[in-house]
């Protein structure tokens, strides 16, 4: 369905006060990012370095993955390779089965969302507890995260209070974030201690050392991974960076771009399993090698998942993450998801004004808005645009190619707008009028005015 984003956005917009709150809150996060970035005079240099390091890495990925694998194996870590989501999920299930484990904790990993790991494991009777506070909230509510950094940003504290009252027995009507967070802390600390296996995501994987870096503010990745006997870290293969030195560049950019913090609370470097414990790394393709081969879209794989493009996007802020109906929403999701499934995601490259703000804030300089525009062309060439859009565009092209028709159409439109306004100011016939005012019809066209000027 090619207008799915628009329809879901319309549902989100039904609550105007909440939409405004969402918009303003994310803009506030964007402003915090600006303040953090502005404290570093070398910010643009850092972005250039980050972009160049990622460009280089993507051009030599085969060698870096082999180097990473060799070093990780030497560190005593099990390395797995998964072609697609199914294989990723099966690998994890096999590890669980071998260990005889039926409950796990999981910290934030957008890859496992992309692979739909939770429903897969739950179908097999595994109890999966998401431990990031925002993710736990949406898990209780049987919803998907609506933002990759702030998973519950679509909810108000009253919603969280109701959810916790239902699932954790907190006081009804107590909406205090401090109180609610404390309740989650007690609940999740119990889960950490009970779990034999913990799954985490990966922010960076270092080829030179065979280790991984995981960043959190809550400490949930660490509580899970260190309490458990087995730590499984899941990563898309594009998380590779060549050297430890490069972490200096990326750790300076990541949290400042994401939330405006100077660094995340915890930047954890895992290299070898603790004595008597096991560590696994699952390297996942799931369409990434295909994206690597698409010249126009390749550098979307540079993304470090900071979500700065979400927070700045006028469409995301006003339509909410669920309107993107995918694991990764926002502008970056709109250029990644058509690669995963073009037919299911044809609407996403159109969920943008192409204003370019996403590209301007991106810490690794991905040309997001240009890729959105390029996806539109690919989608049109594949014949996947909505019939209404196709017919509209064809009609417009026909009119614009015929000056006589164009002038007549203009004149008619001016006359109708002035004399029969109910025909234009109509939400049923004119979707443009839904959230907009129609302009006053000018008395004459520019051409008529120009000709008059020439005569006088």
């Amino acid at each position: 369905m090619s207008s799915r984003h628009a329809q879901l956005a319309e549902q989100f917009n039904a609550d105007e006060a909440r939409t405004n709150w969402h918009d303003q809150t994310l803009w506030w996060v964007r402003q915090k990012r600006d303040r953090a970035a502005n404290t570093l005079p070398e910010w643009e240099q850092l972005r250039q370095w980050a972009s160049d390091i990622k460009d280089h890495t993507l051009s030599n990925l085969h060698a870096y993955l082999l180097e990473f694998e060799k070093n990780a194996l030497a560190n005593g870590v099990f390395v797995h390779w998964a072609k697609d989501a199914q294989e990723h999920n099966r690998i994890i299930y096999d590890i669980l089965q071998k260990a005889g484990v039926d409950r796990i904790v999981k910290s934030k990993s957008m890859l496992t969302e992309e692979c739909h790991l939770n429903p897969y494991l739950q179908d097999k009777g595994i109890d999966v507890v998401d431990t990031d506070l925002g993710e736990r909230i949406v898990q209780f509510r049987e919803e998907a995260p609506s933002h990759i950094v702030l998973p519950a940003i679509h909810l108000k504290k009253e919603d969280v209070s109701n959810t916790f009252h239902e699932h954790l027995g907190t006081e009804k009507g107590n909406n205090d974030p401090q109180y609610l967070t404390h309740a989650a802390r007690l609940h999740l600390r119990e889960k950490f201690i009970q779990s034999d296996i913990a799954i985490t995501g990966v922010n960076f994987a270092i080829a030179e050392t065979g280790g991984i870096v995981v960043c959190t503010n809550e400490g949930n990745a660490d509580m899970g991974a260190h309490a458990a006997r087995i730590h499984i870290a899941c990563m898309g293969f594009e998380k590779i960076i060549p050297k430890a030195e490069h972490l200096g560049v990326f750790t300076r950019l990541l949290a400042r771009s994401a939330t405006g913090q100077p660094i995340t609370t915890y930047t954890s470097h895992f290299h070898r399993p603790a004595p008597g414990k096991e560590m696994h790394i699952v390297l996942v393709d799931n369409g990434r090698s295909r994206q690597l081969g698409r010249e126009d879209f390749r550098n979307s794989l540079k993304c470090i998942r900071c979500a700065a493009c979400f927070n700045t996007c006028p469409v995301y802020r006003r339509s909410g993450g669920h309107s993107y109906h995918t694991a990764v929403a926002g502008p970056i999701g709109s250029i990644l998801n058509p690669n995963l499934d073009m037919k299911a995601n044809v609407d996403l490259p159109f969920a943008s004004t192409l204003c370019g703000s996403c590209s301007n804030v991106c810490p690794v300089k991905i040309n997001i808005h240009e890729q959105l525009w390029k996806w539109r062309q690919v989608i049109s060439a594949e014949g996947l645009t909505a019939p209404s859009k196709k017919i509209g565009m064809k009609l417009m092209a026909w009119v614009l190619a015929r000056p006589g028709v164009y002038r007549f159409a203009g004149k008619t439109a001016r006359w109708v707008t002035a004399n029969l306004p109910f025909l234009v100011k109509n939400k049923t016939w004119n979707p443009w009028f839904k959230q907009r005012e129609m302009p006053e019809a000018p008395k004459q066209s520019f051409q008529e005015w120009y000709k008059k000027q020439q005569r006088s």
Partner: protein, 199 residues
């Protein structure tokens, strides 16, 4: 062909012609001159606090007093009071009021402190305690993350972490709450330059 080889083959065919790895010229990085005051400012900004220690006896006394008050203290510092064994029982560690560990480097631009596995004793210790105290020497501060990564070896030990402040979250309506899953408080004790530590 195994998945591994299929993936590697696909990447080999898809990756573009090699692009150069940039040389990072750190003269572009703005220098930080007042390391201590910048570090202190950022530890505060990320929700922690800094105290300076002039006499090693002060710190020993602090640990011993806390123990006498009946608080559950786990001390991993060498040279200050006695060092404690770590229980393998997580339920017991979960009750710890305060843990003392040695940091090995502090970063002035963001208040982060590098802590390695050996000084933790058990990887979970700095996360599971209600309150964390990290001890650093004044000389162990560096300006930025670039300096930090030049100074440390990230794979020296099996696990190492930069810690900046107590654990926190803003997942409920963007309201900052200190004390998510990890410690609810972080104190950084800075040993004054030249302070002798009993072995």
């Amino acid at each position: 062909m195994s998945s591994r080889n299929q993936i590697l083959e696909a990447i080999k065919n898809a990756q573009p012609a090699i692009k150069p790895l940039p040389v990072l010229d750190y003269t572009a990085v703005t220098p930080i001159k007042e390391l201590i005051s910048s570090f202190e400012q950022f530890v505060n900004a990320v929700g922690g606090r800094v105290r300076f220690v002039d006499q090693s006896a002060e710190l020993t006394l602090e640990i011993e007093n806390a123990r006498q008050e009946g608080r559950l203290i786990l001390n991993r510092l060498n040279g200050f009071s006695s060092m404690d064994e770590i229980s393998p029982d997580l339920n017991e560690l979960e009750k710890l009021d305060r843990v003392y560990v040695r940091g090995s480097l502090g970063v002035a631009e963001n208040g982060a402190i590098w802590v390695e596995e050996t000084s933790m004793g058990n990887r979970i210790l700095p996360f599971i305690a209600q309150e964390l105290v990290i001890v650093l020497r004044e000389e162990e501060l560096v300006p930025t993350m670039h300096d930090a990564y030049q100074r440390i070896r990230i794979n020296q030990e099996g696990f190492g972490v930069f810690i900046a402040g107590p654990s926190k979250t803003a997942d409920i309506e963007q309201s900052l709450v200190i004390g998510a899953h990890g410690p609810v408080a972080l104190t950084v004790l800075i040993l004054k330059s030249g302070l002798a530590v009993p072995a």
